[in-house]
Symmetry: C2
Subunit: 384 residues, 2 copies
């Protein structure tokens, strides 16, 4: 396997995009390629994530993006794995480059749903769950994650203040992130006074619907002896699955796919949990951040909540978690989310994270979940 | 690169499926795995093609299929490249296995649209074109391919009888294919009397909307020293792209992406056109079969029509083309089509093609196009 790098990365500001998904994808792709020192003509393959292009009446987005980049002859395809689509695309890029099939690959994720009303957007999101067994019976994601939160509370006594501490931290981080949907800190009082969406989850436990686009460029080391930015070496690129339906699983207090991908990734990268300087995890709901930290082995089961309250996961804490603001506050444009986690790590490694900069990170982990954990991707990045 | 095989393949009967796309996918996947001599637990990755699961309110199909196969922990994702989705998925499987990342990969394509009315189904198909520039202005695929047919007729004098000869041949082949949507021969008179859909294309120039599912298992040679079936060696797995919109291209009498993928594939496989015993090409419309044979270099531009009339591409001709019946008569369940071309070649190589058996094939080519050729896949298969 060839040593494989992330050599470029870019994101737009998440929130509400005036442009279409394919236009936003093309623009961030150009910016990511530019940040790598490569040119579009150097790209050998394009993987797009764009789950809900259908809502814009547009499938087959890859050739449109490549045409926009001036490289129409380059092959492309769209990769879907619900909310983990662009990390699944990153894995394909890794396999192509590490395996020697392509020297440089573009990964770009984009989503636009803001032109739909909220109910319609919820329906699109819910297609990631199991239609006959979950969605058709009314179980959309707030309800499914509320079920996990209830189980976690009953087993470990996870308090509203522990969930709230995730929200307060991530909103504080997002306030320093120009890519973030929400750039305003919130207080614990605001959190505790916010309306219940699906008990015990309140409004501020939930990530927003966001439009957005993010792109990364993956390349072989020998292709770029002197990249203009500090590249990330991909130390591990791992994907996993689990029983799709929550009601068929043996646990409701964590996601088996996260545990599996995490274990394999740490072994593959030959690093310990304590070596990691910075983590971006899939906090579609606050409970998901706590479960992720426990499933990945950073904390024992039931201990991540207290650690969050005590500031361990703040950006100046022992283990900065979601310095970007996470899905919770940076926003969650489904197909852009996995790529945007890598954008954050790229900016952190390049000292370009401004007010949310973590001190000298050398090892980072990105964790991206599809739906309620039917799919999971874990990537570990180091310095070259 | 490791020598990489197609070791198993299966298809259901195309047409109208009572079951959902994910159910049909699970069933053919089991059958394909069974035909390989492997068991589900041997599968290391699953690539699904299912462009329009959204029409069943279901995305993120991989974990559902893997759960049904009893291998929920296995990673999966869905690959979309319009009508070339499952050949794009096959390419990813090839890269994973040839690169040594996974020993055995499942590729399964499924599509169900028959529960929609025709207008709605047409709208779904049309999402593969460029929405703002093509679809929104009324250009759906029959119109776009009619434009290509008009250009081809004007330049080369391609006659209705030449287009009709493709339809008559492919319906005759499909009549001997138990997987085919249409299993009834048609005459040239029937063809010539059929109504015009988009001039010059008549009803019998157009492939049908079909439901269907097809699966193939790709594995490393060393993984299966004694497979129960005669495997196909993948001699070339190539994808390409072209300018997405037809109106921006310099040619309308062929598809640049087909030419490019064909050239690269023949070089990679170290074979000549004249070595190929059997071809499955993307005949979504009759004109597409003629263009494919010309773009791939089997015939000079403008010469495939006459050759078809003269029987060269019949299943007992010099170069059997679409012995399965092709998209035209076997049917075109969008995401299953690329995989089903490989099913045909697998059955042909295993002497299981019944009344449509080609004599002792040793080299075969599959050609699958996304939309009007924004994407193309070409695979060349040999005997081990």
């Amino acid at each position: 396997m060839r040593e494989t790098w992330v050599v470029g990365a870019a994101s737009n500001r998440f929130g509400k995009m005036p442009e279409s998904g394919r236009e936003a994808a093309t623009l961030v792709a150009l910016e990511a390629i530019d940040s790598s020192g490569l040119e579009p003509k150097d790209i050998g393959y394009t993987f797009v994530a764009n789950c809900f292009g259908i809502a814009e009446r547009q499938a087959h987005v890859g050739p449109l993006i490549n045409t926009g980049l001036g490289i129409p002859e380059v092959p492309s395809c769209t990769i879907e794995s619900a909310c983990s689509s662009s990390s699944a695309a990153l894995h394909e890029a890794f396999v192509h480059v590490a395996g020697g099939f392509t020297d440089a690959v573009l990964v770009v994720g984009a989503e636009k749903l803001s032109h739909l009303d909220t109910l319609n957007a919820t329906s699109y999101f819910a297609m990631g769950a199991d239609y006959p067994f979950e969605t058709r019976n009314g179980a959309t994601f707030p309800g499914l994650y509320a079920t996990l939160a209830n189980a976690h509370q009953r087993r470990y006594g996870t308090s509203p203040e522990q969930l709230g501490a995730v929200a307060v931290k991530n909103h504080a981080n997002a306030a320093a992130n120009p890519h973030a949907h929400f750039q305003k800190p919130i207080t614990m009082e605001t959190y505790l006074r916010s309306p219940v969406i699906a008990s015990p989850l309140r409004l501020y436990d939930c990530c927003p619907f966001s439009d957005g686009a993010a792109a990364v460029v993956v390349a072989a080391r020998e292709r770029l002896p002197n990249p203009p930015s500090e590249p990330l070496v991909i130390r591990a690129s791992v994907r996993s699955g689990s029983i799709a339906d929550m009601h068929d699983r043996s646990t409701m207090t964590g996601l088996p796919a996260s545990r599996l991908a995490g274990e394999i990734a740490f072994k593959a990268a030959h690093v310990e949990r304590s070596d990691i300087d910075l983590v971006e995890v899939h906090d579609c709901f606050t409970i998901a951040e706590l479960m992720a930290l426990e499933d990945l082995g950073f904390y024992e089961a039931g201990r991540a909540g207290r650690a969050t309250v005590e500031g361990e996961t703040a950006r100046d804490g022992r283990l900065p978690v979601n310095p970007s603001g996470g899905l919770k506050a940076k926003g969650h444009p489904v197909s852009a989310t996995g790529a945007s986690q890598v954008v954050e790590i790229f900016e952190q490694f390049n000292g370009k994270a401004g007010g949310r900069q973590v001190k000298d990170p050398t090892l980072a982990l990105a964790h991206n979940v599809g739906a309620t954990g039917g799919s999971c991707s874990v990537h570990i990045f180091g310095r070259r």
